[in-house]
Symmetry: D2
C-alpha cells in the first residue's frame, strides 16, 4: 500500500535528523531561549525583510491557532473565517474552548473575500445595541486553504485593507505555506505576507520537519507578553532548541522551498493524470493537495493499492477524495499511481 | 561553563535518535494511531502489569496536566495540591485557564498527606451550603516532587484510600518518575502506582527523550472520549509515531531505568560533596535534583564556572540553589564540580 | 408613542407587586432555600404532574441557558441548535464563553427537525476519528421560537426520541413558554414537555414577572450539584425568595396562562389587521410576536406613532418587522394600531 | 426566632417598593438603556463629583466581580486579593471559571497592604522568565471587608499609588459599602474612592434594595465595550429600569446612608453588649457585621432564640460567630438580643 493520505506520513527530511544528531550533546537553556531559536528567528525575519517582527516556535498547528487567537481577543470578541476554515471544522472546538465564537462566511473555494468580511463587520454594527452579538475582531485565513487553493496578492491586499479600516486583526494559518508560495500562479511571498498580516505562521510539520510551526507577529499589541500565552496553553517546548534547529535547517539553503516544489511537482503529475481521464476537481488547486471527483467504483478500485482520504459526497455516484504529496513522495510511487489512474 | 540547571539541557539519548533515523522513511498514519504508539502502549501496560489501562502520549508536561485535569473535572470542581505543586506554581495558571481552581495545602517537603486531603474535603462539606465554595474532586501529586522528595508506598496507599473513600480522583505527575523509582529508599514501582492512581504520567522529556510524556489512565470514567481532549487542547501530535518510537526505545531494555540510575548516581556524588562541606539541604532528596543551602558568596563563586538554578532565599546570607543531573551528565563534569565544592 | 417592541416594556403584573409588598418584612434565609421557593417548586412540579423534578430559579434567560448548557457538557461537547436559536444569535457568545461550540442547522421557521439532529449526529460519527470535531451532546430548542412558531407534540416527540436514541440531552428554552402553550393550534402542555425534555425553563421575565425563569430538570445526571453551577456563574440571587414569590403568584390561579392568553389575543388582532391589508409574514406565528413583511415606506410611516422592532431585510423594498404584545398591552393601544394599519 | 444571620433576610426598603409600584405601567426600553438608569447613573456620578465615570447596574455581587475581573484581564493575568477575599472564598471559583488565577496574600484583618501588593509584584518580576507564573494585574479589595473592617484613606491611597506605579488595576468590592462609609472612624467617601480606584461597586442588595449593585468605572481602558461583557455573562437585566429605579431611590434624599447608619447603630448596640460581658472579637469592626468570639455553650444557648452565622473555630471551646444588622433590623429585636446576652 502506498500512502497519499496526508503530508505527514514520514519522519523528517534527513538534513533535519542530521542536524539533531550533530547538536545532540550541546548544552542549551530550555524553553526556546537558546541560540538556535534566536538564529532561526533571525533567518525568518531576514526572509520577511522586516526587523520589527517577533518569532515564536510551536509544536503544532492547533496549538498555534488557539494560542494566537485567544491572546488576540478580549472575551466578547470572535474570529471570522470561511466556513471551511480549519478552526471551524477540525480542531474540536479549540477556539471555543478558549471562550470565543467562530464567525463563519460561506465559501466554496476555501477562501473568504474582503467583501464578506466587510459585510460581517457592518452587520454587527448596524445594530444600535451590538452588545447582544459577538464582536468580530480577527480574521482567520489559511493559505493554502484546506482545499488547496491560494490567495492572490490582490485578494490578500484587499482583505488586509478591509481589516485595517475596521480595526480587525488579520491572521494567516500557514500550515502548508511553502506549498502555496511555490504553487503555479502564486504571487505572494514572505515579505508581502509579513506586511499584510498581523500574524501568520510558517508550517513545518507538513513540510518536512519532525514537527514545528514558526509564528511571525508584526502587530505590536499582539506581541506583548506572548510567551506567557504559549506557556499557559501548554505549548512551550522544554527542549525548545529542537524547533530552532529544525527551522534553521529548513530556511538555510532554501530547503523549505525545495521540498515544497518537489511536492507540488508530484501533485501536478497526479492532477494531470486525472485531468487526462476527464475527471473534474473539487477545487482549483496547484498545491500539494488534489481533490479529484471520482465515481465511487473508481475510488473503491484505487483503494486496493493506495491510501488516500475520502473528502465528501458530491452526488449519489461520485465523491471527492484527497491525494496528498510531500517532500518524501517518491516519483516511482507517483508513476505507479498514474499508471493505475490511466488503467481505470 | 558546565550546566547543571536542569535535566533537559541536551537532546536525547542516542538510541532514540538512531531509532528515529531507522524509521524515518516508513509511512504511518498520523495522530498516534500508528503501530509504534500501539507497541509503546503495550509495553507500558506490561510494565504496569495491568490490561485495563489506556495509554496516551503527549509532547509536554503542562499540556498533559491541563488536559487530564480539565477532562476530569466538572466546572465547579477543583484540584487539590501541595502549595509547591507544579500546577500551582509554574504553569502560568494553565489549570485556571481551563476554568478550575487549584486548592492548596501547606507543605515544606513538597508532599501532601492523606490527612490534609481529608481535612480539605471535610472542610468543604462541613458547610450546609457547600455550593458557595469550589468542590474538591481531584488530588494532584508529583513524584518525585518539585524539590526531589518521593512518596513511600505507605504514603501513597493512604492517599489513594482517602481519595477512594471520598470519591476523589488521584493523579500523579511523573515528569521525573524514573528518578523517583530508582531513588535510594524508594519502594514504589509502576505496578503499585498504576493500581493506586486513577491516572499518572511517565515523563520522557526530562529523562532522555527529545520530548514526550506517557499518560496512563486506569479510571474508566476518565478514559471515555479522551482523544477529543488531547486534540482540543492542541496536544495531538501529527507525527504521533515520534512519541511511540521514543517510548518504545525508553522501555525496551530498561533504558529508562538505566538513565535514571545514572542521573541519580551523579546527583548523589554532588550531594555528598556538599554534605562533606557541612552544608544543609532544602529537602531530603535522593533523586536527580539536589537543593543545597549555600552562603551567598559561595553561590557567586560557583557561578563563575557552573550554571545552576537559584531556588529561594533562606536568610539574609543563605539561599537554596538547585543542581540537576540527567542521562547526559558526564562524570568528569561532576568530578570538576566536586573539586570546586571541596575548594570552597 | 406606543411601544410594541418587546414583551418587557412594563414592570410586573400588579398581583406580583402586591405579593412582594405583603411579604416584605418577613425574614427568610437567602439564596433560594426559603419556603417561597420551595412552594413555587412544588406548584410547578404539580403542574408538570411529576415528582422527580428539580426546580431552580434564575433571574434571566441568558444566565439560565449558559448555566444549564455548561453544566451539561464536558469540554469537547457542543450544543445543537437551529441557526436562528437565541444562544447562536443574541447572547454575545455566552455559550462559547463557557468553552462550548454551538452547532447549527439551517432553519427558515425557527425550528429544528429530528432529521436534522440525526444528520448532525451521524455526520460526526461517520468519521473514523471523530475526535477532530466537536461531539454533539445537547439539543437546544426554543418554544415558541425566536420568530414565534411552536413545536407540535409530534415534532417534540420525534426530537425527544432521536435524542434518547443517540444519548443526546434535550433542553427547551421557554422564555415565552406561556405564549406557546396558549397559542391556537398548540397541543403541548407542561406535562408532556417535562416528560419529553431533560430540562426546560418556564419564562417569567417576558410573561408578567419583574424578572425570573424557572428551570425544571428531569434528567438525574444533570441534577447533581446544580446549585454550584448557579452560584459560580453569578446566578444565585441573594434574596432568592423574590423568585419564589413571583412564581407562586404566576402559577396560583393560573395567572400565567391568563396573561399569556391576553397577549396572544392582542397579537391576533394585530395579525388579522395586517392580513386584511394583504401583507405576508416572516413566520406562521400564533403567539405574542408577529412578523409582518411591510413595504419600507409603510414601516417609516408607522414609526411616527409606534415603536416596534426592525427584524430583517426581505428585499430592496420590503422588510420584516416585529410587533410584540404582553400582559400589559392595552386593547385601546391595539385598536389604535389597527386603525393606523387600516389607514395605510 | 429572630434572624441576625445576614443583611438580606427581608425584602426592600418600602420607598423602593413604592417607587416600583408608581412606575409599573410606564413603558421603557429594556436592558438598562432607559431614563431611570440614566438618572441613577447621573446621581451616582454627582455623588462621586466626577464626570468621566461609567456606571453599570448588576443584579448581584458575584456577577459583578466576575464580569469586571474577566473584562479587565488578559488570559495570563491574575487578581491579587487578601486570602479572605470573597472572590477567593465564597464564589465557587467564579473568577477561575473565567480563566484567571486568584493570587492571595495572608491576612488576619481582612485587608491587604500596599506592601504585600508590591511584594507579590516584585516576586513575579524577579524571575528572568516570569512567563512561567501568572502575571499579577488587578488588585481586588472589599470595603468593608468580609469581616467588617474598613480601609483608611491613608491605606487606600498607598494601595492606589502602588497599583498606579506598577500598572495594576485597583477594584473595590463594595457589597456593603454604605456600612463602611458610615462607620465610626471612616475617612473615605465616594469621591475619594472614585478617584483612587479604577473601578468599584456600590452594593444595593445588602443595603436595602431588592437587589442591585452599581458598578462605577473610572479607568478608560476598562470602560470600552463593557456592555458586551455584562450581556455575555448573563448579567444584562431585561427590565433594566428596575435597577435604575432602585438606585435613584437609594441616592435621592440619602436613603442609602440613613439605612447604613441605622444598621451600624444597631450593630454597635450588640457589640457593646458583648464587650460589656468581656468577650473578644475576631475583628475590629465598626460596621453592620460583628464577630464576637464566644464559648461554644453560649453559642448553643443563643441559638435557641436567634439565628446567626457560625464563622470559625477559635479554639477547642470557643468559636467566632457573626451577627448582622440591616435597614430592617428592629430596635426591639436588638434589645431582646442584648437582654439575652446580658443574661448569659
Amino acid at each position: 500500500m502506498l500512502r497519499f493520505d496526508c503530508d505527514y506520513t514520514e519522519g523528517a527530511h534527513p538534513k533535519i535528523l542530521e542536524k539533531l544528531m550533530a547538536t545532540n550533546y550541546e548544552q542549551t537553556v530550555g524553553y526556546g531561549e537558546d541560540d538556535y531559536c534566536k538564529k532561526a528567528a533571525e533567518i525568518i525575519k531576514e526572509k520577511c525583510s522586516r526587523d520589527n517582527l517577533d518569532v515564536h516556535f510551536f509544536v503544532g498547528g492547533t496549538q498555534t491557532n488557539l494560542t494566537v487567537i485567544s491572546a488576540a481577543l478580549r472575551p466578547h470578541q470572535g474570529a471570522i473565517t470561511a466556513i471551511t476554515g480549519h478552526i471551524n471544522t477540525h480542531e474540536t472546538g479549540a477556539i471555543e474552548a478558549t471562550g470565543h465564537k467562530v464567525l463563519t462566511a460561506p465559501s466554496t473555494d476555501g477562501k473568504i473575500t474582503s467583501h464578506q468580511i466587510q459585510a460581517i463587520y457592518d452587520n454587527h454594527y448596524k445594530d444600535s445595541s451590538p452588545e447582544h452579538t459577538v464582536q468580530p475582531k480577527l480574521v482567520y485565513i489559511s493559505n493554502p486553504t484546506e482545499i488547496g487553493t491560494i490567495y492572490s496578492k490582490t485578494e490578500l491586499t484587499a482583505i488586509s485593507e478591509t481589516c485595517k479600516k475596521n480595526n480587525l486583526l488579520l491572521y494567516m494559518d500557514g500550515a502548508r505555506l511553502g506549498y502555496g508560495l511555490c504553487a503555479e500562479g502564486n504571487d505572494l511571498d514572505l515579505q508581502s505576507i509579513a506586511k499584510l498580516c498581523d500574524a501568520f505562521y510558517i508550517g513545518g510539520t507538513k513540510i518536512g520537519a519532525l514537527f514545528g510551526e514558526a509564528l511571525v507577529i508584526s502587530n505590536s499589541t499582539l506581541k506583548s507578553d506572548f510567551r506567557y500565552f504559549i506557556k499557559q496553553k501548554g505549548g512551550l517546548l522544554a527542549k525548545g532548541r529542537l524547533l530552532g534547529i529544525q527551522f534553521t535547517t529548513l530556511f538555510e539553503d532554501d530547503l523549505y522551498y525545495d521540498m515544497s516544489n518537489h511536492a507540488n511537482e508530484m501533485a501536478t503529475l497526479i492532477k494531470n493524470a486525472f485531468i487526462k481521464k476527464g475527471y473534474k476537481f473539487l477545487s482549483a488547486s496547484n498545491t500539494n493537495q488534489q481533490f479529484p471527483i471520482l465515481p465511487n467504483e473508481v475510488i473503491e478500485k484505487l483503494k486496493s493499492n493506495y491510501i488516500f482520504s475520502y473528502w465528501e459526497k458530491v452526488d449519489e455516484n461520485h465523491s471527492a477524495v484527497r491525494f496528498c504529496t510531500s517532500w518524501a513522495t517518491k516519483k516511482e510511487a507517483v508513476l505507479k499511481l498514474i499508471a493505475s489512474i490511466e488503467n481505470i
